[in-house]
Amino acid sequence: MGATGIIFQREFNTYLRLPIGYIVGAVVLFLDGVLFWAVALRPGAGEFLSGTVLGVFFYLASGMTTIAAVVLSLRLVAEERQTGTQLLLDTSPVRDREIVLGKFLAALAFLSLLNAATIYMPLLILVNGKIAIGQIVAGYAGLTLLGGAVLAIGLFGSALSRSQLVAAVVTSVITAMFYLFWQLSEVVEYPLSNFFAALAIHERHFVGFQQGIFHLRDIVYYLSLTWFFLYLATRVMEAKRWE
């Protein structure tokens, strides 16, 4: 196991050891359940097609995934700087990209675990209605890609400062910006409208997944966004390592 694996293992276990993992998990699962009940199980919900209900579930779950990703990412580097343990990593023969990747993958794995725990809701729709397994797979793939992108933004925010509050503000602002690109695209003229729409993290690129459709452009978008912010986080770590 390389340094990435060693850091992954530590970080993932930290989510299981510390209250933050359980608190985020409990809140996300509770709200996902409440929203699912409000949309799929409320009186009159039977009038909707099962596929539509599942799509709405993934739409709502994407919001919860985004919030969970922001919260889970804040501690990743900022906490290490706050407690002084970053010095251990900085003085170990480990590359910054290995540190960033290990932390990112651990947070993504934990977030995926939380998302996986919501599987009973799509299964309820599957049992009581008629949906394609592919839509479930696509929905969860979309949640993972969206969550990964937001985690990467959060990791970048966390790398910038030793304060988790500063990390929260930076991450929230950047994430909100990528959400609001869609609204912005509707009020500006072509070709800017296309540009902003293409950057919109949710409305443009997640909708396909929630409907059970894999678009290559959506996959490329999320992976590019993730890579870009992980790259930035790595560069910040490199710069701060020698400061």
């Binding site: 196991m1 340094a3 060693i6 050891r17 407690t83 002084g84 010095l87 003085t91 170990s92 023969p93």
Partner: protein, 319 residues
């Protein structure tokens, strides 16, 4: 083993360190002594590859810290002032994590662990989460993480920081044990901590080394003469004759009678003299007094305390 050449470090326009040049031979135990804020931590972090020098070169075991930082990091164990311990991990999991991080295999960590636990005496807390450790144990775990990968160079920044007197004694004993297998660099602003564990001292002031050498050499630098204190029960000739006798001993520069003048009291029938000599004149003074019929009650070297030497060196640097 360690070679620094004209190393400086600036934080913005402020010079925190340097220019500093020195070498440390393999197996040496060197203490860096200086007041708070003179650049000790900056120097140690540069050596631990946690800080980039603004200029100059640093090499450890032939590897330059900038050109080949990972090779340096493999060879260095670093204990910062605040041990970098993850509170949520048990001690043994933490040490295993650090060992793996330093490039050891899982098997090598398992084999090494008992020796490290024994050396740092943390066996009884190995299954405890680190957040529940006392300050003393936390510091020992800090040492354990620094030596887990058997580094050639062990760097410790204020290792007795925040420890109680008993823990300080234990830490010194641990450092003395580690001297046998590591080249050690320790920083402190507390003299006894350094002087009792190190072979060589570097006195740092305002980012520069103002003196270096063994404890005795440093004392010599400021104490060209030796000071002794002798208490006698004078013969019939009296204390004045005893004083004149001492003053006539070759090598004696000055003789002063202590007593009310310097706030000390003498036992009835005795006289105490403070003697400044060009060298250690205890034997000559004692012989002369006894031969003249004076009883020597006590005879001690009253060398100036190293603390005063340190203050003197710093004052020299300032001036």
């Amino acid at each position: 083993m360690v070679e620094l050449t004209e190393v400086t470090r600036y934080y913005g326009p402020k010079r925190a360190l340097g220019p500093v040049s020195f070498e440390i031979e393999k197996g040496d135990t060197v203490g860096i002594l200086g007041l708070n804020g003179v650049g000790k931590t900056t120097l140690l972090r540069i050596l631990a590859c946690g800080l980039r020098p603004s200029s100059g070169s640093v090499s450890i075991d032939g590897h330059d810290v900038l050109d080949n930082p990972h090779e340096v990091r493999k060879r260095v164990g670093y204990l910062p002032e605040v041990p970098p311990v993850y509170g949520d991990m048990t001690v043994k999991d933490y040490l295993a994590f650090v060992g793996r991080l330093k490039g050891m295999t899982a098997e090598a960590v398992s084999e090494r662990m008992p020796a490290v636990e024994e050396c740092t005496r943390i066996t009884e807390v190995r299954d405890m989460p680190a957040r529940h450790l006392s300050q003393g144990y936390r510091q020992r775990v800090g040492v354990a993480q620094a030596i887990i990968h058997e580094p050639d160079l062990l760097i410790m920044d204020e290792p007795t920081h925040d420890l109680d007197p008993v823990q300080i004694v234990e830490m010194r004993a641990m450092i003395r044990a580690l001297k046998e297998s590591h080249t050690i660099l320790i920083s402190s602003h507390i003299l006894p901590e350094i002087s009792q564990t190190c072979d060589r001292l570097l006195i740092l002031d305002d980012g520069r080394i103002v003196a270096s050498g063994s404890e005795a050499q440093l004392e010599e630098r400021l104490l060209l003469s030796r000071r002794i204190r002798v208490t006698v029960r004078p013969a019939a000739t009296g204390a004045t004759a005893a004083r004149a006798l001492i003053a006539g001993v070759p090598g004696v520069k000055t003789v002063d009678r202590t007593g009310a003048a310097d706030g000390t009291t003498e036992e009835p029938g005795t006289a105490t003299f403070r003697i400044e000599g060009e060298a250690d004149v205890r034997a000559e003074v004692c012989r002369a007094l006894v031969e003249a019929g004076h009883d020597v009650i006590t005879l001690t070297r009253a060398e100036r305390q190293l603390e005063r030497v340190f203050v003197g060196l710093v004052a020299e640097g300032t001036n």
